[in-house]
Each structure stands twice: as structure tokens, then as C-alpha cells.
């Protein structure tokens, strides 16, 4: 077991955002977490990273309890995050961004990893001396993913990577997710609103609603599930429970 969340509660100030979430990710899996806006998806992602810290419950990574650790210590354990909204360093160049991603790694790996990223994302090599803030949204997302991979993580957390991107880039992002997992054996936890794409690349999926996991299963099962279909795949905004089963 690579990542195991059990009974995780989290608060943003007075707001109780997560109500006892159980979730697990096995080595070599792509697991996706889908849900509507405000369901707590990003909170869950950040709670793994201790921002906010889980108020109760346990987060275990690779056999070690990381619940109370500060964020940078969690990153040092081998989890990399591609945050929601990309959060690249806009005034720094593309290459400097990649170097920031590699601060934890060995100095000697840097050149090799940089070449690897340029092979994976050729556009980044073209833009390597450009300020990251001048990249397009899709390119920035590529950069954010590459930056996270520079630390050679064991687990990659992707928070809404397709948010606000052009359809062409959305396709590309999911293609990369699949490639990373299949060819490089990367274990991935993917948070998405784009349920259709996410469930197709994922081995397993969870559906989060009001801070609770209401459904889980393989990607295929969830895709075929009529409630999921009605609520998340046909543009429905209402909660699955409120929808009559088709």
C-alpha cells in the first residue's frame, strides 16, 4: 500500500470540509477522485500535504504515519504535488522552475532529469529560457507536471490538471497521465471534475460528495454506474442521491 487515508477529517477554520474519508492508493495504480465543485476534492489533496492538517484520522504513506508532518517534510518523503491552478513561479524561467522542482534531488541527477522532461514535454525545451508566466495555460500545466516529476517522486498528486484548458490540451494531459503510469510505472492520484476522462485513465475511482466518499470502484464500474453517469457525466450538477436512478 502506497497511500492510505483512514477516517480523515479536515477543517478550514470553522468549516468542516472532510468528514472521515477513507481512501487508498496501491503501488503502480492511477486512482481518481471525482466530485462536484466544493465537494472537498482539493481539500482532501491538500490534507495529504498537511495544508490544512487533518484534524483527526490518519494519513499513512509507504508505511509511515505522515499525518502531523509539516508540508515540506511530506514532500521529502517522496510525494509530489501538481497543485490546483498550476502555481508555477511566473517570474522565473521555465528552467528555473524545473530546478526548483529538483531541490530535493541529487545535483548529479539534474541534467538527466531535465533531458527526460524535455523528451516528455518537448515544448518546455523550446521555451526553457522564457519566463514561465508567459506560457499558455496548457504549457504551464505541462511545466507544473514536469516540475513535480523533477523530484523523482514515488507518488504524484494531480489536482484538477485539466481545469481551464483547451480541449486539445485536456486530451494531451490525460495522455501524459496514462503514459507516465504505463511506461514509467508512476503511481498517481488524480483529482478531477472532468469525470469522463479521469475515469477512463484510472484503474480505480472514488466519488466525493459533501466531504464524504459516497461511491468507489474500478474506473469502468464507475463509468457504467447510472448515478455517476447522471450526476457527473451528463453535465448534471445535482448530487447523485437527488437524481432518480436512470
Amino acid at each position: 500500500m502506497m497511500l492510505q487515508l483512514s477516517g480523515v477529517h479536515a477543517h478550514y477554520g470553522a468549516i468542516h470540509a472532510l468528514h472521515g474519508v477513507d481512501l487508498s492508493v496501491q503501488v503502480g495504480e492511477v486512482v481518481t477522485l471525482i466530485g462536484a465543485n466544493g465537494a472537498g476534492k482539493s481539500t482532501l489533496m491538500m490534507a495529504i500535504f498537511g495544508q490544512p492538517r487533518a484534524s483527526s484520522g490518519r494519513v499513512v504513506f509507504d508505511g509511515e504515519d505522515i499525518t502531523g508532518l509539516p508540508t515540506h517534510e511530506i514532500a521529502r518523503r517522496g510525494i509530489a504535488l501538481v497543485p490546483e491552478g498550476r502555481r508555477i513561479f511566473p517570474r522565473m524561467t521555465v528552467m528555473e522552475n524545473l530546478q526548483m522542482g529538483a531541490v530535493l534531488g541529487e545535483e548529479t541527477n539534474f541534467e538527466v532529469d531535465l533531458k527526460r522532461m524535455y523528451t516528455l514535454f518537448p515544448i518546455l525545451e523550446e521555451r526553457c529560457t522564457q519566463r514561465a508566466g508567459t506560457l499558455s495555460g496548457g504549457e504551464q500545466q505541462m511545466l507544473a507536471i514536469a516540475r513535480a516529476l523533477m523530484s523523482r517522486p514515488q507518488l504524484l498528486l494531480l489536482d484538477e490538471p485539466s481545469l481551464g484548458l483547451a480541449p486539445l490540451y485536456i486530451k494531451k494531459i490525460f495522455q501524459i497521465v496514462r503514459e507516465l503510469n504505463r511506461d514509467h510505472g508512476m503511481t498517481i492520484l488524480l483529482v478531477e471534475q472532468n469525470a469522463h476522462h479521469a475515469l477512463r485513465v484510472a484503474h480505480r475511482g472514488y466519488v466525493l460528495q459533501h466531504g464524504q466518499i459516497i461511491l468507489s470502484g474500478t474506473g469502468r464500474e464507475l463509468l457504467a454506474n447510472p448515478e455517476v453517469h447522471a450526476a457527473y457525466l451528463e453535465g448534471g450538477h445535482a448530487a447523485p442521491a437527488a437524481q432518480p436512478a436512470a
Binding site: 500535504f49 495544508q51 509539516p70 508540508t71 515540506h72 514532500a75 521529502r76 509530489a80 504535488l81 497543485p83 502555481r87 508555477i88 513561479f89 511566473p90 517570474r91 522565473m92 524561467t93 528552467m95 528555473e96 530546478q99 526548483m100 522542482g101 531541490v103 530535493l104 539534474f110 541534467e111 531535465l114 533531458k115 524535455y118 525545451e125 521555451r127 526553457c128 529560457t129 522564457q130 519566463r131 508567459t134 516540475r147 523530484s151
Partner: protein
């Protein structure tokens, strides 16, 4: 949306004429009582006279001025838009170091080295240049905190004061020399930096600014009131001046002095020139130090913290240590400048370390372009020399000063030099240099 459209809209000549006519009309309305009518003293009685020709000229000037202003604004806006468009289409260009800037940097260095030789008899010039260099050094120090790490510090003068008082006390109470006291004063200032940084780690932006502002005032008020330690408002007097490797700048006496050792005739200018070269060397060391730091992981982490703290933490960077190191190093450099200040003046009092100083140093960093080393030099020149040049304008010089600052911010909102030098260069084979 409406505002956006308005901003994009550039006026046609007809619109400009109409606009200028409207302004001229307002000028006419205001001008009739203010200029058109005047009182004349006629044998003790006041009589109202008219000055229609003057009024006509006034209205004409307003019309032409408004027309020109409108035209200039449109031109500037068009140029800016063109620049933004080209920045989007060819942004790779903006990363190349401009050879002009490198050239200016070297020229500035050459001039500053040659300056005391060119003006060896002019004490005023060398003194003013020394003041400029003190501000350059303070600007480079604060640049670490504000420009690189993005932590808005309004109380930077506190570290300047800590450095100055540390040297003042060590030299007058314990007889320490300049060079002995310099590292210790830097260390004391750095620990004050950490002292300030520690409780403010969670604060950002305005909140941090308020706390640092308070910190600066606390230090000053302590210096005013703790009379036993700091001498209170009287300050510390007769602080020894630095010597040239043990050779004092004194009229010839029993001990060897600088002049007698080198077989020169004694002149008070020797010390002035020596102090100038001393601060030049300190400032250059600061510059070298900060530019090296920028290329180290810690320096890059400062900039990354400025850009996005959460992302930094997710990369495994300990944000607390990075911020504290920025505070400590910025404070240390301010402390060094303070030691020099105390040694140069020979007298320090809390009056030298008011909020005004913090504001000027911050203005130097912001005006120069946050994070730009050369920008700090240019801004220090502007901010120190403008009040000096404006002496002829007497009480209007602060007005002039303010107007200049506003104009720079309008023309160059990112500072005089907003260009950021990348810390990594591209090599054709995809590696780095």
C-alpha cells in the same frame, strides 16, 4: 468591462480637439476672476482693472497643453500596447541580457572608482557620493528581503541602527576597532533580523508591513529611552574613525600616521577619500555576495517563496528557514552599512534612524525595480542627488522629489529596471551553465 474598453480606446484628433476645448473653457471660467480681473492701487483706493490679453494667453496655453498631454498619453499607451503584444508573440527575447545594461553597469563601476581622483579637491562631491553609496548598500541589503524574498519590510532602518549602535558602543566602551566590530555588528543585526522574522513568519503583504513598521519604531524608541545604554536622544559621540590598516588619519605626531607613512602632506581629504573607497568596497562586496546568493539554491528559494509559498512547500522547501535566512542576511547587510555610517559620522543619535530613512530605502528598491541590482544604483542616485540638486529650490525641493517619484512610477510602473536576470542560462545541448 467598460473600463477595459475605455482603456483600450485611443482618441481621434477630433476628439482630442473637443477635449482640449472643454479644458480651455473651464480655464476661461476660472480665469476670468483669477486672471482677467485684478485690483490696482490708485491713490489709496482700490480699483478693478481687466487683463484680457493675459487671460487669452492663459486659455491658449491650457488648450495647447491639454492637446499635447492627450497626444502624449495616447502615444505612450499605443507604445505600451505594442510592447505587450510583442512580448506575447516573442517572449524569448526578453530573457536575453541587454548588452546596454551590462555596459551601464561597468561604466558606473569605472566612474565610481575614478570619481575621487577626478574630484580630489572637491570635498562636497566625494561626500555626496559616499552618501549615495551608503544608500546603494542599504538598497542592496533590503533588496534581498523585499525584492527577492518578497517580504515587505518597512522597518529596515532598525538593522541599520543596530549596526551603527553596536559599533558605537563597542568602540567607545571597549575600544574595538572598525574591522573588529564589523563582523560582530553584522551578526548582531542578523540576530535582530531573525528576532523580527520569527514572529512574522505567517504574515504577508500589508500585515507584515505593519509589524515591520512597528519593529522599526520599537528599536528607535528603545534607543531614545534607554539612556544608560544608548545615551538617549544625545546619542553616542566621538566614535573613532576607521584607520588605514592601523595608520590613523591625523596631523603628523609621534605615532606614524597615514600621511607620514606614505610621505604625503597631511590633508583632511585623505580620510574623506578613504571612507569613500571603503564604502565602495563594502558595497561591491555586498553586490557580489547577493548576486552569488541568487544563483545558489537558497537564493532561488527566496525568489520562489516570493512567487508562491504553497508551491514552494510542496517542492519540499522549508519556507520558515528560507524566510528567516532572507531576513537575517538582509539585516546583516544593513548592519554593515550602519557600522560604516557610525564610523563616518563619528556621532550617532536616534534621529538618524527614523521611519523616513526606511521609506527612502524602500523607495530605492521599489523605484529601482524589485530585485534589480543595477536599478538600486540608479534609484539611489536619483533619490540622493535630487534633493541635493534641488537645494536651490529651497522649500520646494521635497515637492520636486515627490513629483519625480510619481513620474517614474507612471512611466515605469515596474521600477527603472524591471528586467529580471535569469539565474540559469540555456546551453544548446539542453544543459545549463
Amino acid at each position: 468591462m467598460a473600463a477595459l474598453v475605455l482603456a483600450q480606446h485611443s482618441t481621434s484628433p477630433a476628439e482630442r480637439l473637443k477635449d482640449a476645448a472643454a479644458v480651455a473653457f473651464i480655464a476661461l471660467l476660472l480665469g476670468i476672476p483669477m486672471i482677467g480681473l485684478t485690483t490696482v492701487d490708485q491713490g489709496g483706493a482700490l480699483r478693478i482693472a481687466t487683463r484680457w490679453p493675459t487671460l487669452c494667453i492663459f486659455v491658449g496655453v491650457c488648450f495647447a497643453g491639454r492637446l499635447l498631454l492627450r497626444y502624449a498619453i495616447d502615444r505612450l499607451r499605443a507604445r505600451k500596447q505594442a510592447r505587450e503584444r510583442s512580448a506575447v508573440s516573442a517572449p524569448t527575447v526578453d530573457q536575453a541580457t541587454s548588452p546596454l545594461l551590462t555596459w551601464i553597469g561597468w561604466a558606473a563601476l569605472g566612474i565610481s572608482v575614478a570619481l575621487p581622483m577626478l574630484f580630489s579637491e572637491n570635498r562636497y562631491v566625494v561626500d555626496t557620493a559616499t552618501t549615495v553609496l551608503i544608500y546603494v548598500m542599504l538598497g542592496w541589503g533590503l533588496n534581498v528581503v523585499v525584492g527577492l524574498a518578497g517580504l515587505l519590510d518597512l522597518g529596515y532602518v532598525a538593522f541599520y541602527a543596530v549596526g551603527a549602535y553596536t559599533y558605537g558602543l563597542l568602540s567607545t566602551q571597549f575600544g574595538w576597532g572598525f574591522w573588529q566590530a564589523l563582523p560582530l555588528a553584522g551578526a548582531v543585526a542578523a540576530s535582530f533580523g531573525i528576532l523580527l522574522g520569527w514572529p512574522t513568519l505567517r504574515l504577508r503583504g500589508d500585515y507584515l508591513a505593519i509589524v515591520t513598521l512597528g519593529f522599526g519604531e520599537i528599536i528607535r524608541i528603545i534607543l531614545v529611552n534607554w539612556t544608560e545604554l544608548s545615551g538617549g536622544p544625545n546619542g553616542i559621540a566621538s566614535i573613532p574613525r576607521p584607520s588605514f590598516f592601523g595608520l590613523p588619519f591625523k596631523p603628523p605626531g609621534d605615532d606614524p600616521t597615514f600621511a607620514s607613512f606614505f610621505g604625503l602632506e597631511f590633508s583632511t581629504n585623505h580620510r574623506i577619500v578613504f571612507l569613500y573607497y571603503l564604502i565602495l568596497a563594502l558595497a561591491l562586496l555586498t553586490n557580489l555576495f547577493v548576486s552569488r546568493m541568487r544563483k545558489l539554491p537558497i537564493g532561488r528559494a527566496w525568489e520562489a517563496i516570493r512567487e508562491d509559498e504553497i508551491a514552494c512547500k510542496a517542492m519540499g522547501i522549508n519556507a520558515r528557514n528560507v524566510k528567516l535566512s532572507a531576513f537575517a542576511i538582509g539585516a546583516m547587510l544593513g548592519g554593515f552599512a550602519g557600522v560604516f555610517f557610525a564610523a563616518r559620522q563619528g556621532f550617532i543619535s536616534p534621529e538618524s534612524f527614523t521611519f523616513n530613512e526606511s521609506a527612502i530605502i524602500l523607495a530605492i528598491v521599489v523605484l529601482g525595480g524589485m530585485g534589480s541590482q543595477l536599478g538600486v544604483v540608479l534609484a539611489s542616485l536619483v533619490l540622493v542627488l535630487l534633493p541635493e540638486l534641488g537645494r536651490d529650490f529651497a522649500e520646494y525641493r521635497m515637492l520636486l522629489f515627490g513629483a519625480a517619484m510619481i513620474l517614474i512610477m507612471i512611466w515605469k510602473p515596474g521600477g527603472i529596471l524591471s528586467h529580471r536576470e535569469p539565474t540559469l542560462r540555456y546551453r544548446a545541448d539542453g544543459g545549463r551553465r
